[in-house]
Symmetry: C2
Subunit: 324 residues, 2 copies
């Protein structure tokens, strides 16, 4: 479960007075924050604590993560000159993250560790808008109005994402997740023309040595195309039943999801009913050709979630017969 840490008091204690970027570049903190939800909830895998913009920061782009706002880019990327001036990410620049991974591999024992990177489109939106954006209008303006500049930008960001994931793989992660937070803002035609070729290249360059997960939110219209990008696992948010998702993604892929994170606020009976419904739909999806199912939320853990409810939900899921 992504972002499971942020609902934990021990996480808030550890982060008190420590900036988000500072914590992402501190190997000991990366290790400890990644371990906290694994210890608490007994989940089946750990997901590396990091942030979408960490590889951009590592590459030397002037940015900060401002509490209550999100990433703020000092000099937004708007022109072909801005794109040409983008730095490449060198292996040694993410040494602290790789060191965090190595510490984790030592601590986790048999629990697999999932590495993490933001997909090129989401990175591009932060860079072009200068921060989080609801409507991505400058990003889409570049995409639609200056496609050569756009593809050059996406090419540079694809290289950065690949390098960031390779550093994690070299350090020992067991799987990778490419997270396209904002892809759901696009139509299918926009996604296919301007995003898919780059996300495809990320997965192709990583290769099939480890399981590769691809995830977005509000991407119901895009599931087929996201399935084509080359991942082994496609994340599904709560808006699309797994039985529909398998038809869109096509056979042979594992589906991940898709409990609505808000369900965890609705009491144990609702949680149990919804967990059992998703388990049933996962069985049906497998009968329809899905390669498997990874039970997860349909999005990150919401910050006000009661950690006890998360633990109980994980126990409930573990008590169900495995769909595989």
């Amino acid at each position: 479960m992504r972002q499971a840490g942020r609902s934990l008091p021990e996480y808030r204690e550890l982060r008190a007075g420590v900036g988000m970027l500072e914590s992402c570049f501190d190997p000991e903190l990366v290790c400890e924050i990644t371990l906290q939800p694994v210890r608490r909830h007994g989940v089946d895998a750990a997901i590396l604590f990091s942030d979408i913009v960490v590889p951009l920061k590592a590459a030397g782009i002037d940015l900060d993560i401002v509490a209550g706002v999100g990433p703020v880019i000092a000099h937004p990327v708007r022109t072909v000159q801005d794109v040409r001036a983008l730095p490449r990410l060198r292996h040694e620049e993410v040494g602290a993250i790789a060191e965090g991974v190595r510490l984790l591999v030592g601590e986790l024992g048999d629990t697999p560790l999932i590495g993490f990177a933001g997909a090129p489109f989401t990175l591009a939106s932060y860079l072009v808008e200068g921060g989080p954006s609801r409507n991505h209008e400058r990003t889409k303006a570049m995409m639609l109005g200056a496609p050569d500049t756009w593809h050059a930008l996406m090419g540079a960001l694809t290289d950065i994402a690949v390098e960031f994931l390779r550093a994690q793989l070299t350090a020992g992660v067991d799987a990778i997740q490419l997270f396209d937070s904002w892809a759901g803002a696009l139509s299918l035609a926009q996604y296919r023309e301007f995003v898919l070729p780059h996300s495809e290249r990320v997965f192709a360059e990583i290769g099939d040595g480890v399981p590769r997960i691809h995830f977005g939110v509000g991407t119901g219209e895009l599931l087929g195309a996201m399935g084509e990008a080359g991942a082994d696992v496609v994340g599904v948010d709560w808006r699309v039943p797994l039985t529909d998702a398998v038809r869109r993604v096509g056979p042979g892929k594992t589906l991940q999801g898709n409990l609505d994170p808000a369900t965890l606020f609705a009491g144990p009976q609702v949680v149990e009913r919804e967990v059992r419904r998703i388990a049933r739909e996962a069985d049906e999806a497998i009968a329809l050709g899905a390669a498997g199912h990874i039970f997860n939320l349909g999005h990150g853990v919401l910050p006000d979630t009661d950690p006890g409810v998360i633990t109980a939900t994980v126990e409930l899921i573990h008590s169900l017969p495995s769909p595989l």
Copy 2:
């Protein structure tokens, strides 16, 4: 085009120092702000300047619209007692809005005026969360965990929406739009069980004396159900091509949309290409059974949009052969 006013310098001038709620309850301002984009852009219909929470404020609920935040509810609605304590909206409480409509009818001549109300679910989310919410977790917790309380709340809000629309109809609007801003946060199953019956009642109580438009954003999964709610026109955002939308909504409904508002930032060639594409898809949608097409953006006008681009886009659309 919804919210076309907010990109206009004459709107900003008129609103300088005047609060949002204050302007929504001032008949002269409602009239003038509604007319501004009609004068500027020569659009085919006016849409009443108002806000989703205006009927709640009119009914006596303690709330304010805070610049940069949105509506803030002094006492969020969380319990069955809170729901029972909700006021009803009386006709005379929206007298200022009705007066604004009467002024507009006098000014607009042959240009039709579209009335406006927020749908029960969107009103409920503001009341339960206490303001705008990204994840609607408290709203969904009530919906899933306390369905009786939820349906009582939705019943009260349905009454308020109906009364607000009736006041506008009595004053002379030519059509109404029910706007469900946040419905896209729901799965189809959640929408069908907890929202659709109430939106249906809004349309049933308004009756078929005027054209009724139903609109949401990110509602691709819900288009079929939203079509069943009883409106004559279903709004479609840019994520779903009109040729797909007609299949989801079913035949006999008019489709409204669906130019991505971000397109207006991408230069005149892109705007022309996209406008022509949508016109072609609208023709195809009509061939597939849609009753007609209302050209519009797929969402409200973005505040930084160049008003000149909007005017040019309206001229371009008017130059195309009518699909009807």
